[in-house]
Symmetry: C2
Subunit: 460 residues, 2 copies
Amino acid sequence: MTRTPTGDLIRPNRKTNGVGVQAEDTRICVVMVGLPARGKSLIAQKVTRYLHWLSIPSKIFNVGQYRRSETPAPSASFFATSNPEGERLRRAAAEAAVNDMIKWFQRGAGLIAILDATNSTKERRRWIQNRCAAEGIQTMFVESKCDDPDLIMSNIREVKATSPDYKGQDPEVAAQDFLARIQNYEKVYETIDEDELDLTYVKLIDVGQRVIINQIKDYLQSRVVYYLMNLHIKPRSIWLSRHGESTFNLEGKIGGDADISERGEAYARSLPDLVRRCGDGRKLTVWTSTLKRTIQTARFLTFEKLEWKALDELDSGVCDGLTYADIEEQYPEDFKARDEDKYNYRYLGGESYRDVVIRLEPIIMELERSENILIVTHQAILRCIYAYFMNVAQEKSPWMEVPLHTLIKLTPKAYSTHEERLKADIPAVSTWRGKGSSAKHAEPTDEERNSMGKNVGSGH
Amino acid sequence: MTRTPTGDLIRPNRKTNGVGVQAEDTRICVVMVGLPARGKSLIAQKVTRYLHWLSIPSKIFNVGQYRRSETPAPSASFFATSNPEGERLRRAAAEAAVNDMIKWFQRGAGLIAILDATNSTKERRRWIQNRCAAEGIQTMFVESKCDDPDLIMSNIREVKATSPDYKGQDPEVAAQDFLARIQNYEKVYETIDEDELDLTYVKLIDVGQRVIINQIKDYLQSRVVYYLMNLHIKPRSIWLSRHGESTFNLEGKIGGDADISERGEAYARSLPDLVRRCGDGRKLTVWTSTLKRTIQTARFLTFEKLEWKALDELDSGVCDGLTYADIEEQYPEDFKARDEDKYNYRYLGGESYRDVVIRLEPIIMELERSENILIVTHQAILRCIYAYFMNVAQEKSPWMEVPLHTLIKLTPKAYSTHEERLKADIPAVSTWRGKGSSAKHAEPTDEERNSMGKNVGSGH
């Protein structure tokens, strides 16, 4: 620490993670509340994926997993209030999860923990609130309340039939047992109500049709609430494509605002048909960047189109318009530094992948709200969007291969995102460059290519 | 319109205004609901200011103003339910406001209208809902509910004593009459409740302590809700300063990432004292950009500091590092185009003021949530932030003078923002350039300088 001219201590600067100002000692426990099959685990996983993408360390503590280590495959009667042994074991699991969570916070491992369990009584919630308050941890209760029998049954079928509690059992029998388990919970379930106005909570009723927000104060809490407000569960897909091959791609140059090449033009002409082949006739909205190569690529699509500056390619600053060979020659230190930590490396006068994620945050929020969107944009931007949906680690996402002239269709499912790739039969140069490789664009090896789905290798 | 290779019609591209995707035919009537003195007009004005800053055309239709043209200074008895003539006149005022609003939408004049009135009965709300639905206008009801007598009385004192209804009257008499008027409304007031679950509404209880959100579907609606969630009414100020004079300023160059000059350094050293003189000893948080000149300027402040990339100077693209004379010589067309529409002019490879506003939106949201913030940033960025708080028109904001070595303190009040400027006694070059002037930085004339508060003249 240094001092001002008048001798006061000066704190070091901190960089914002771009999602706002957060006291360094923030510790929030998001406590899920709700009957089984109300999408609690789904919400917990989406929130952690979003936070992780924003570089906010978070972790789910799933009480069911703790309980399972003692009671691997319980029948519905285990969850009956008349079963004191079941009650005791479930309480012990909750305590084990909360203890581990507190240790996790004490280690300084993260900012947000999610306690995934039914937490269906006022007494249980008060106990969690008191445990957390004693450790200086804020609590935010997130209740998912839903009485639509169709929604509940579809959740039971999709998710619970694959639950570890019912491994190897007949799905119909499992579903019936699970319904009986829910009925046991219903007997004691208390929704969050006027008795709990001192708590910070969000109540999501019928998947966001109605939302009640109480005592939200903290910035990170408000971000999570806004994210929750924007989630929907209508089935939809997101289509992603890079622009068609550009004249800069042909010359191996990065950045710029070049036109598409002849082959890029052929891709643009083929795109409407490519979309038709995997679009099931759905009406899409097309988003492009403001750069010519994406607008030219999208121009034969008949859907409504929107240009976003936030979708412009990663700004390579002083290196804009150079080839990798130029960069290696003119900025050898930078070339090396970028290989070492590509996610955080910021081009001189330009951007890092981390910077791009920050400016893409409103795009992700929009995508969560929207139904069917086709995005025509650039390699680094697609990597960041893809990383959000496919939960790709930061150290890997900047190296993923996203080939030219290929349409990617992502379909979010309950606990994962389904991916299809449709390659147009139109050749293009490769713009992929392996980590630590020489300063050339190259074709990835078969091995590298095969690991593509697992998100290794390639360059911007 | 053109056609695809297969003959389908192609729609023209639209540019997003950066606050998301909005169907072109969106028409939303925000209907304020609540007893008098619950901050409805304040909320209405803040929302329109925010929307206007984001280039979303909106307008307030204040029923009280319509009523006043017939009944300029009514006493409380005018608002008694037992007064059929008062009832008839108030109903007529509501009809006149709604009719004008519908005409405003029909003219295509805007996307969001705000109907500012008590709208305190279910019957009145249903009538508005039906009138709007018949015209294809969505309604979103925003109720402000507050039972804290201190808050209500402070609202009555601050705002209502200056109401046109009580012009020239003794403030104490006015306050008493106003309390009687509120009691007349309380007799018939119906809060939005379970009978109205089919309506889209937001209920703000005790200034955002508790928020109930029902049936929000549309993107713009969700933006408005998020904005409303973030408002608070704790007294606070925002301090703004440009970085100290930089070596680029001395050379008349724009952009870059230069160090501060000797005089800039002197400003940095004087800043803690300057802040102390107008900071009332309050604990501030300091936000800087990621560029050296702002970090250097803030470095003697003892408060917590945060670097935001979103606060970096307007990117001047190919013109970065040039003087205005260079730009006039090398890009004469651009130089002229920028003078003609400075707000929308986007530097080749860089940004426009419009682009800057989009990336500042999260900063504004943060500022609305936060208490006391000191921002050390750049000329164009300060102009945009200042324009938000002071409601400066787009055609004027890029020309405002924001001198070097001057601390600006903004204090939001109910219906306006109070401004103080504190000039450090440290000389600096002027970076101001008048519209249509030669390509030089110059001192503004006395006349131009005097109109500074009224936001005329100067350059980035």
